[in-house]
């Protein structure tokens, strides 16, 4: 047993380290565009092994905190009922990407949903009219959420061929994707343009 572990450790240490670089640049967009999520998509579509995470969204004062959740495919969103009073919430989505009805959650409850498909998913509470939220499911963890277009920096991007993209919440606009190769040095001064569809 010890020998196997030792052999495995030696093999692991002998592997050449995977280079990881940063990708930096600027989002150029019209004034109407506000929140954008800049992200990288690997040219090789095979999904890397990445630890799944649980992202918590609080429900308090009959609102979702926060209303926008960005995760990676395979992650779980957990809705935590943090109301101070005995108020129940329901979480549901009609999205063709992931439709679900998690039933009613009492004060203190935690309801969960796994998201496997990438895309934008709107969800609601069927009890309270102002409770609406969005989950944006991305292919990997190489992304940055920007409250408004500006400079971006994505760290620890492995070597390989990637496409730089952005989710634009204003539906009149889209990003013009950029194909790029990540090698031994950082990639700087990129300009990702947001244009009208």
């Amino acid at each position: 047993m010890k020998k196997t572990l030792l052999t495995g450790l030696i093999y692991f240490l002998a592997l050449p380290p995977l280079a990881a670089q940063s990708i930096a640049g600027h989002i150029e967009a019209p004034a109407a565009v506000k929140q954008v999520i800049v992200y990288l998509e690997a040219e090789n579509t095979s999904r890397p092994n990445q630890a799944q995470k649980i992202q918590v969204v609080a429900q308090k004062d009959t609102e979702f905190h926060g209303p926008l959740t960005v995760i990676t495919a395979g992650d779980t969103v957990q809705w935590s009922n943090d109301e101070s009073k005995e108020i129940d919430h329901n979480i549901f989505s009609l999205s063709p990407l992931t439709s679900f009805d998690l039933g009613l959650g009492e004060k203190g409850s935690k309801l969960e949903q796994v998201f496997k498909n990438t895309g934008i998913i709107n969800y609601y509470c069927s009890v309270h009219k102002n409770m609406e939220g969005k989950v944006i499911v991305l292919p990997n963890r190489h992304y940055q959420v920007l409250d408004r277009p500006g400079d971006f920096l994505i760290d620890n991007v492995p070597e390989g061929h990637w496409t730089l993209h952005a989710v634009v919440l204003h539906l009149r606009y889209k990003a013009e994707p950029i194909k790029l190769a990540v090698g031994k040095t950082a990639v700087n001064n990129l300009t990702l343009k947001i244009v009208k569809k």
Binding site: K85, D88, N90, L104, S126, V127, K129, N130
Partner: protein
């Protein structure tokens, strides 16, 4: 005697009115409603806790507070009947500084939206596919403040009518080919008359609850009744 009269009026108003029977034609009619999640209704019936929201509701006799979706008062439920050779319909919509006159419209591809801009600024309206379903858009010419214009809807499916210039101006659209639609309030009657005998898809929709589709068989000289209640659980688990 007066009570008897009142009871009769109440019973009659609670019933769906059957359309007149026409030679060689049929009709479909019924009542469309929306309701809370079945778990919510069950808890409201069984929960006796004085601290819970259900206990408060029972004590006050008010089922829906101001911050809750009042399913009994929803007034934008739609029924759509898919049929061939449909004449395009026109739907009215007004934009004001406070928002759109309707939150939602179900319509046929090829129908027109007559849009009145009662905001103080010109607006560039456009229709976009819901981000979950696609990224096509349809743009319209600028609509000056106070002006009215008619726009033909060319996209299909779950859509949003939006303004480039004002985020508050938004109407959810549901467009299907050859769909004749009726808008009703929760608990109201709908009817489609003078139909040729045959099989028709019938769609019930509320923008926040989604849709239920079923097929209805129309027979000559017969009225077919289809009542439907839209709830989260019966839409998602249909």
């Amino acid at each position: 005697m007066n009570y008897l009269l009142l009871l009769t009026v109440l019973i009659v108003s609670a019933c769906a009115h059957a359309p007149q029977v026409m030679p060689g034609k049929g009709a479909v009619y019924g009542v469309l409603s929306a309701d809370s999640h079945s778990e919510f209704n069950r808890k409201l019936e069984n929960d006796t806790g004085s601290n819970s929201m259900y206990g408060e509701m029972k004590a006050t006799g008010v089922k829906y507070n101001n911050d809750m979706v009042n399913y009994a008062k929803l007034d934008e439920l739609y029924v759509g009947l898919i049929q061939a050779n449909l004449t395009p319909q026109q739907h009215q919509l007004t934009a004001t500084a406070g928002g759109m006159s309707l939150k939602s419209i179900a319509l046929a591809v090829g129908d027109t939206l007559q849009l009145r801009n009662n905001t103080p600024q010109s607006q560039h309206f456009f229709v976009a596919e819901s981000p979950s379903t696609g990224d096509k858009i349809q743009t319209f010419p600028s609509l000056a403040a106070g002006a009215v214009a008619s726009y033909k809807i060319e996209l299909e499916g779950d859509l949003e009518l939006l303004s480039e210039d004002n985020d508050a101006l938004k109407t959810v659209l549901f467009a299907q080919k050859n769909m004749l639609t009726k808008r009703v309030a929760s608990g109201d009657n709908y009817q489609f008359e003078y139909l040729e005998p045959g099989s028709y898809p019938l769609i019930f929709w509320y923008w926040r609850l989604g849709k239920i589709q079923q097929t209805v068989q129309i027979q000559a000289e017969q009225n077919t009744r289809v009542d439907k209640t839209l709830t989260v659980d019966n839409v998602i688990h249909q």
